[in-house]
């Protein structure tokens, strides 16, 4: 579906070197701090910036051969950009119909009604949440094969976020060959939606795991100095000094549950794994 190998982009104070793979029928999450390189990666995929090196293949096609008409197969949401604020949704209808041969007007209108979006109000007068809803609805309204979603749920309340995630689940359920590449700061969204997660930090992918594996096999071990000295550290990915001793991230929770029953072992969450991968020390 999408394959990125050593995508490089250099700026004065930042350099990106990113590799990732998105398979058909999968929802892949890209997580990382602000400025980690998520948006740069998305923009390179969409041809909005010129990579300095590496390869991007979309549906098996090199991105330089991925022409304007091929973008009919993509649905896009960008975190810092959207439809012109000087237009109304009513204005967008003929434009989207003209741009996308598979634009489903009935679906689009139905979703607008579902999310209570007004047809005749200028988009610049929309709240952040309303803009986010419109962007996701538009991205899913032309039967795209691949959605590229950069922070699509930013600025939404819990209910609206849940509705949008449902919309994305419906999008995936309609065709098993579809895929989504999504970035978000809200880890609960990613936990419930993504099949696998990539973590990007300072322009490099530092972690990739299936979400199920992350939630079932990753754990935080809270150990005292004495427990730490006796601990088998072969399966410790990161450790961090704490006031009580050490906090250790492992991807072999069962091993420590069975062999160290006295340890305080907490289930790994996306947030905790992110924090430990970024702020913890490598052994």
């Amino acid at each position: 579906m999408l394959q990125i190998d050593h995508l490089r982009k250099n700026y004065k104070a930042f350099s990106l070197d990113c590799s990732l793979r998105l398979l058909p029928g999968r929802v892949t999450g890209l997580i990382g701090q602000n400025g980690a390189g998520k948006t740069t990666t998305f923009k390179a995929i969409l041809g909005l910036i010129q990579p300095d090196g590496g390869t991007i293949r979309i549906f098996g096609k090199d991105h330089r051969q991925f022409h304007a008409q091929d973008r009919q197969t993509l649905g896009v949401v960008l975190s810092d950009s959207g439809f012109s604020g000087y237009l109304t949704i009513q204005d967008l209808l003929p434009i989207l119909k003209e741009f996308y041969s598979d634009f489903d007007e009935a679906f689009f209108l139905e979703q607008l009604q579902r999310f209570h979006l007004p047809l005749n109000k200028k988009i610049k007068e929309f709240s952040t949440g309303m803009k986010a809803k419109l962007n996701v609805i538009a991205a899913t309204a032309h039967r795209a094969k691949l959605l590229i979603l950069d922070e699509p749920t930013a600025g939404l309340d819990v209910v609206a976020r849940d509705q949008l995630l449902d919309l994305l689940r419906e999008y995936m359920a309609a065709d098993e060959a579809r895929s989504i590449l999504i970035s978000s700061h809200i880890s609960s969204d990613l936990e419930s939606l993504c099949d696998d997660l990539y973590m990007i930090h300072q322009g490099r992918i530092i972690f990739h795991e299936d979400t199920d594996v992350l939630l079932s096999d990753y754990a935080l071990l809270k150990v005292s100095e004495a427990q730490y000295c006796k601990l088998d550290r072969r399966y410790i990915l990161r450790q961090k000094k704490e006031h009580f001793g050490y906090c250790c991230l492992t991807n072999q929770k069962q091993y420590y549950l069975e062999n160290y029953p006295a340890l305080a072992i907490e289930k790994g969450t996306v947030d905790e794994v992110i924090l430990m991968m970024i702020r913890g020390d490598v052994l």
Partner: protein, 217 residues
Amino acid sequence: MKGLLIKDLKLMKNQRNFFLLIVGVAVMMAISLENSTLVIGYLPFTCSLFTLSSISYDEYENGSAFLFSMPFSRKAYAVEKYSFGLLIAIASLGLATGITAMAGAFQQSGSITETIQIALMTLPAILLALALMIPFQFKFGGEKGRIAALGTVGLILIVYRQIKQLAEAWHLNLTALFEQFSALGYPAFLAAALLFSTLLLVLSCRISISILERKEF
């Protein structure tokens, strides 16, 4: 390209109060001024500037990034802007000619032929203005683009002055050359002006395509 054209027409429709104001001012000018042909200069030039505004609207809140993720090429975008500019120029020129002709008929002054001749001679001037300003708008954006365009006009005037001085030093009379050219008669002069301005517009469009294809969003 049709989708882009619809977008710009929708943007234009949403600014209808601005256009109504301009048309109102044009009508007032035609009624109150002795030389109502000034409307032919005022209305199309002011309306054609909306082409530049439409680029600013596309760029509003970094909208270009999202826009260029849609299924059209950067070349199509550039060509559409020139086509849109041309469309507005011709439509507003027609409207200005109509207003001027009607004002002339009411005031029983001027002739329709003269009005049409002035209108046709205004078209190359509008094309030249578009050819000059659109690439700067693409390269530098709204404010800086206008400053750069004005700077270029200044540069062109300086270059013209230098050429004139050089010609005088070589005992060439440029003024006589221009007089000879205008002696060709109105149709030939108009055809030459239209040809020259169209060629510059095509060249300008190619420059804009090149600017856009290198641009990052």
